[in-house]
């Protein structure tokens, strides 16, 4: 229980920081919708908390049984996005439910973590040793890759390059953490990276632009480079102690686009400075570290891999988002977990943390 308490307290702290940042970056905008946005986020956090409690009290082993169902549901939802999806900001990523929009790609992340964890922790029926020791290149890499690449392809087609790449990262991380031979992984990497230059033609125009702008934001300071430049200015101008809550000019005066979603970190950094950022990153680090230590202590292979997958995904998402805010990574749509406005992301993150807690709770059983 002690560990559950730690995770949920840190998560709620981060979520609260997120809410005050969302409030700060939207309270000056006109329109009732903007004024209400932080309230919606509070609602999502409460819902997320409820999900966390439900999942953490559930036996995570049930996920093992649900794996194929979850995978199928995930594919179904992704297909549904193509048919019924809501188009927003030029992308078709959302499904409209009763009163909110749901983003299946967020859901896909956790599903893939569960699926891969199960796939690599299958045991031999003869001597209950892990099958992954015996995996050749086909069963070790190609088969799981095919399974992963179907949802990833669907997600990238939406287009949501960020979430797609997150799942590929997850896949790589899981491969590395299981017993698949290192040389297979290297061969796979080489084969995957070789056609990358040809992939250029398959990228959308705006994605190409973003990549070019990442290399040199000044090529188009008022167009595609604008976000990166403004975001860097926002972070940098926070200096050591920041401009103070509700006093950030970049976020408040709308120089910074998307200051309540993907670029919430910049809005936060502007107002709280280096000091605030270090505290925030420390909180994230504690969360990820806790996840990793749960994974390390778990003897159940499924639980171990799942915990690793979930916590690594959390860490990598934080890294990509913050690096993107600082102009160190190309602008891909990766939300900052627990802070960015958006129900799906908040819910999925809380569910992941719930799974972690559940693994920790059941550890004693094995």
């Amino acid at each position: 229980m002690k560990h559950n308490l730690f995770i949920i307290i840190v998560a709620l702290l981060i979520a609260s920081i997120g809410i005050i940042s969302i409030y700060s970056s939207t309270y000056q905008k006109e329109g009732k919708l903007w004024q209400e946005i932080y309230k919606r986020q509070i609602l999502w956090v409460i819902l997320g908390f409820v999900c966390f409690l439900l999942v953490s009290n559930m036996d995570y082993r049930r996920l093992w049984d649900w794996t194929y169902f979850l995978y199928a549901a995930c594919l179904f939802l992704l297909f549904l996005v193509f048919v019924l999806g809501v188009i927003r900001l030029g992308a078709q990523r959302w499904l409209k439910f009763a009163w909110f929009n749901f983003q299946p790609s967020e859901f896909a992340k956790i599903c893939m973590a569960i699926f891969l964890a199960r796939y690599f922790s299958k045991k031999s029926v003869h001597d209950i040793s892990l099958l992954s020791y015996k995996f050749g290149i086909f069963r070790g890499i190609i088969l799981p890759f095919i399974i992963v690449v179907i949802p990833v392809g669907l997600i990238i087609e939406q287009p949501d390059l960020g979430s797609g790449l997150m799942i590929v990262f997850l896949f790589m991380a899981m491969l590395y953490l299981t017993n698949v031979k290192l040389r297979y992984i290297i061969i796979f990497l080489v084969i995957a990276l070789l056609p990358l230059p040809f992939m250029w033609h398959f990228l959308r125009d705006y994605q190409k632009e973003r990549l070019l702008v990442f290399l040199n934001p000044n090529i188009d300071p008022l167009g595609a480079g604008y976000t990166v430049i403004q975001s860097k200015i926002a972070i940098g101008s926070g200096m050591f102690f920041g401009k103070g809550w509700l006093s950030g000019t970049q976020g408040q005066l709308h120089f910074l686009p998307e200051s309540h979603t993907d670029f919430i970190f910049s809005a936060f950094a502007e107002e709280w400075g280096f000091f605030g950022c270090v505290v925030l990153l420390l909180l994230y680090y504690l969360l990820v570290q806790r996840g990793l230590s749960i994974a390390k202590r778990t003897n159940d292979d499924f639980g171990k891999l799942l915990a690793y997958g979930v916590s690594l995904m959390l860490g990598i998402q934080v890294f990509i988002n913050v690096a993107m805010n600082m102009g160190l990574a190309p602008v891909v749509g990766v939300p900052l977990p627990l802070m960015s406005y958006g129900g799906s992301s908040v819910l999925v993150t809380f569910i992941s943390l719930g799974i972690l807690t559940s693994i920790e709770r059941k550890r004693a059983v094995f």
Binding site: L177, G236, F240, T249, L253, F255, F274, Y308, F319, M326
Partner: protein, 577 residues
Amino acid sequence: MIRQIIVTFFIIFIFLALVFGLLNLQVFHGTNYRQLSEKNCIRLFPQKGSRGKIIDRDGNIIVANRLSYDVLILPQDAKQRETSLVKLGQLLEVDYKDLKKAYREGLVSVSVPVTVVRNINYKKAIALEELKFELPGVMIQPNPVRHYIYGGLACHILGYLNEIDRWRLTKLEDYGYKTKDIVGFGGVEEKYDYYLRQEEGGLSVEVDHRGRQVRLLGFRPPLNGKDVELTIDLKVQQIVENKLGKRKGSVVLMDAFTGEIIAMASSPGFNPEVFIEKQNSAISDLFKDKDSPLINRAISSAYPPGSIFKAIVALAALEERKINSSTTYICQGKVLVGKKEFACWSTHGPQDLNLAIAHSCNTYFYKTGLLLGGDEIYDYAYKFGLGKSTGFDLSYEVSGLLPSPLWKRLNKFQKWFDGDTANFSIGQGDLLATPLQMTRMMAVFANDGFLVTPHIIRSIAGKDPASSVRRNYRLNIKSGNLNIVKQGLRSVVNFSSGTGNVLSGLGVEVSGKTGTAQSPPGLAHAWFVGYFPYNGSKVVMCVFLEHGGPGYYSCVVAKEIIGEIIKYTKEGRFNET
């Protein structure tokens, strides 16, 4: 197991990388980015004050400011820029291409308005303002500009305005002047620029990403320049300039007791408005003109004074007891000095001092001068303020040239001959003086022995800046001697044979001395310097016509001026005493 440890370290590594990235951005380059963020959201809107007015002694405004209207285009609001520019061109009768060029060259950022046309008149500004809704993004901005109400009147006293040049900038940088500042050139505008100049104020405004005002951060009200009050009488100045007309020359009227300049004209003149309106061809014509219209002939160029100088020689000889009022010489039309013959302009016969002054007899003054010697004449001329600046308020005053035996030895490496003394005593030779110096000299006779300091500034913002330093010097001259010369100066006008006889019968008692200064090549310079009662005081007047012929012509101009002034004082606000 090793892979799990590597993953743990990997997480630590990426978080440390983020912290270092932030450290770089926020701590090392923080100040830089802070400035950028301020530049993003803070806009300065300058507001101009107006330059101080220049007014005459009665409070009539000579130079004021009017509003000129500039047409600006705010790029972010100008949706159909091309059509707007075409319409603007038609309205203002300006070529569309010029507008486009001005727009392209002036464009800085979408939220900074670009000036496309300057200085349109009031009617057009109104017309544009009415069409505001058809021309989105077009703005009219009023700007105070200098307005010379009377055009070229008193142009040399006032000076003109122009963009600061390098020389002035290096001199004035420490006083807060900047490049592109508009400063005075010449006259009061230059000399008192520091008082006249306005201080720019402005608003600093916080704007959002579309350049819309969010809130006012600060406001500094613009400060208007201080008003400068001159001793000039606008009406007299107008009379003087009218009568001087197109003739080359200068007229100075000065209060004999206080040194206040009542009028000061120099011709040819210029219209300071051409510098405001940036009429480049007119400006370059001004600079190229051989008659140098930008020169104030009253103070900035020196001429041989000719016979005017005889008044000093007469007084010097009386003071030094070389002659007395009854000393008589016979004029035979020429005098032999050494081996050289010096001519008189006529054959006057026997002349005492009174007649000699009235007739401006050269013979009398050759002889008197030779009795005095070059050094004595120099001493007296120096006492009367020749050969040095008068201490006048305006810049670019020259001190003229007062020769002496020592000066000749030092500068020309020659001995001073009696011939030099003879030339010197009739105001010829190397002697050069400005009309203002001659006016000041004559004032000594008018006010019975005081050398005044001529000045043109009465007050700046209600205070006279120089009253404590300006004083009149008493020259130690016996009043008896002074009266003898004054008698002579009176005779110049009174005697029917006097050289200034045209000035009699004006209804006021005019005294003075004419001069016809030889200045080859070209005609002689015509001088008249005299004084007459005016407005309860005495006014010294100098009429100088450059290459204008004999002094008689100056007397004619002087007569017209005095006649007009009398008419003005009779019908005007003043009562003549």
